[in-house]
């Protein structure tokens, strides 16, 4: 479905992408993982053919370099934060439907599909961030393209909107769409991806399955524990004695855990007869700032 060979993009003397080669099969959901500046967004822009590049790149059998417009017709694109014109929701869908040569009735259909029908007469500026992302998804689906390209699509959404959006993309992937998305959120990659391409400083560092990512990159996650106030000091002492890095935060305690050792702190506290009121798993990039104790 997508093949990239020696994909290279330079901005002056700086190489944003350097000899990146990969293949994505139809029906896959591939995550581009990397820190800011790794080359994720540049790769997606090359896929869309909106900037020049060296090397070979094809989408759905179309040479992006030579036929970028045809390649874009095979792609539904959802940016991190879509900038729409100042129109109503239904007018926006109709405008992009005309550009995508979608049948006029598709505008109403896709708004229904992303549950925006009841907001169709609102101005886009009145929508929440989550609704705007759903509108971007609706626009992406107008011409029923085989490929969806998403650039950190949940970065600006709240937790519930993130979950809903990921579920929608999962459904589309299960229905046969090939999905390529960039992310630096481990939970998103695990929930949505079937394969991960790890980029670093413009180079393809490794390919792996989503559940291997944390261990391959030595990534840590944090377990947030709610402990009764009277047991808080004791729990910090127990966790410290068992070698965990902790960080008290208001009514809860954050404990750093490995991808394959998430239950270990809970066992340590259970053995010390310390009650746990609740817990949740948090990605490193969602952590509040504070002093940690090893």
């Amino acid at each position: 479905m997508i093949t990239a060979k020696n994909l290279t993009k330079r901005y002056g003397k700086v190489a944003a992408l350097s000899d990146v080669t990969f293949t994505i099969e139809a029906g896959e959901a591939v995550a581009l993982w990397g820190a800011n500046g790794a080359g994720k967004t540049t790769t997606l822009r090359c896929l869309l053919g909106v900037q020049g590049f060296e090397g070979a790149l094809s989408v759905n059998g179309i040479d992006v370099q030579r036929h970028s417009k045809a390649a874009r017709a095979a792609i539904g694109y959802v940016p991190q934060e879509a900038a729409f014109y100042d129109m109503r929701v239904d007018e926006t869908a109709q405008f992009y439907a005309r550009l995508k040569k979608a049948a006029p009735h598709r505008a109403a259909e896709v708004l229904e599909q992303v549950q925006l029908s009841e907001h169709a007469s609102k101005r886009v500026s009145m929508l929440s961030g989550g609704m705007k992302q759903r509108l971007a998804l609706a626009v992406a689906l107008l011409a029923d393209p085989p490929v969806l390209v998403l650039d950190e699509p949940t970065a600006n959404l709240d937790v519930k909107a993130q979950r809903d959006f990921i579920r929608t993309i999962q459904d589309l992937n299960h229905a046969g769409k090939t999905v390529v998305f960039s992310s630096h959120r481990l939970d998103e990659v695990i929930a949505l991806g079937t394969r991960v391409l790890v980029l670093s400083e413009g180079k393809l560092l490794l390919e792996c399955r989503p559940n291997e990512l944390a261990s391959k990159l030595g990534l840590h996650r944090w377990l947030r524990l709610w402990i009764p106030h009277e047991h808080k000091d004791n729990s910090l002492r127990v966790l410290g004695q068992n070698g965990f890095t902790t960080m008290p935060n208001g009514t809860s305690i954050y404990v750093q855990v490995n991808a394959d050792g998430k239950i270990a702190p809970l066992r340590s506290l259970q053995q010390a007869s310390i009650p746990i009121e609740d817990f949740e798993l948090v990605d490193g990039d969602l952590m509040p700032q504070g002093d940690s104790h090893a």
Partner: protein, 284 residues
């Protein structure tokens, strides 16, 4: 290959946006109001309002066009692409199955439609008032002036779009547009006059330098269209009439068409090569 359907879709959106643009509406009302006022001015010594002839109204409107049309054409064009680039709307539009020439031509066509509609409203209102009160014997010259005003508006829009593509920010594009407006409207005239006096330039040079300015082209062509000679322009006008004769008006019209086409062609070419709209240093 260009798809007309894409150009039309974008043009429709731009036209719709222009109709919702407050400044554009203010300009339309102001232009129509001034045109109407000029067409219904009372004659000296008269106790009642009497309409002037088409030629006199056209001559009065030339100065209005020379001041207003370049300003609105340049600023509307300059704000267009640069504004979309700044909000991110351009990057999103470019990610759709349209090519850059279609986007630029669609935007240009939409803005041109809005601008020409404004001029039609202003000239049309004045024309209707005159038609209701006087004969329509000299309506031909009036219509030619309207056509020349269209060409001037389109040429200013082309220059505005070129500026919008060259500038990194909307503010820069608008600043450049205002500077160019001042240059064309005021400095062009005064500069040529000053240079002529200080350097004692031959009359043919003065004429050729002045017609490099599209506003001067419009002015000379409009005067020709309403009074058939250029005596009002002094020696330069007499030189032009004797040198080019009946070819002068077609040459000036061709010159204005070139001022429409050349900057627009440059804009399309530069926009096609540009990657500035997608490249943000923080988002690589």
């Amino acid at each position: 290959m260009l798809e007309f359907a894409n150009i039309r879709a974008i043009a429709r959106k731009e036209l719709r946006d222009a109709l919702h643009n407050r400044w554009f509406l203010v300009f339309t009302i102001a232009f129509a109001g001034l045109a109407l006022t000029l067409s219904t001015l009372t004659q000296p010594g008269g106790s009642t309002f009497r309409a002037m002839s088409y030629s006199r109204t056209a001559a009065s409107l030339i100065n209005l066009v020379l001041l207003f049309v370049p300003l609105i054409g340049l600023t509307l064009g300059a704000a267009n692409i640069a504004g979309d680039r700044e909000t991110g709307a351009l990057a999103y539009l470019l990610a759709q199955p349209v090519n850059r020439a279609e986007i630029l031509l669609g935007k240009y066509a939409g803005m041109a439609g809005a601008l020409l509609a404004t001029l039609t409203l202003g000239f049309g209102a004045a024309g209707v008032v005159l038609a209701l009160q006087r004969s329509v014997q000299d309506a031909g010259g009036y219509l030619l002036t309207v056509g020349l005003a269209y060409l001037l508006a389109l040429s200013m829009l082309s220059l505005g779009f070129l500026m919008s593509i060259l500038a990194r920010k909307t503010a820069t594009a608008l600043g450049g547009a205002l500077f160019l407006w001042l240059l064309l409207v005021f400095i062009g005239d005064l500069g040529i006059m000053g240079t002529t006096v200080s350097m004692r330039l031959p009359i043919e040079t003065v004429f050729l330098v002045s017609v490099l300015n599209p506003l001067q082209m419009f002015k000379i062509a409009s005067i020709l269209s309403v009074q058939a000679n250029l005596e009002v322009l002094g020696p330069a006008g007499l030189y032009a009439t004797s040198q080019f004769g009946g070819l002068l008006l077609p040459l000036l019209i061709a010159g204005l068409v070139a001022w429409v086409a050349v900057p627009l062609a440059f804009a399309v070419r530069m926009f096609g090569r540009q990657e500035r709209f997608v490249v943000k240093a923080s988002a690589r």
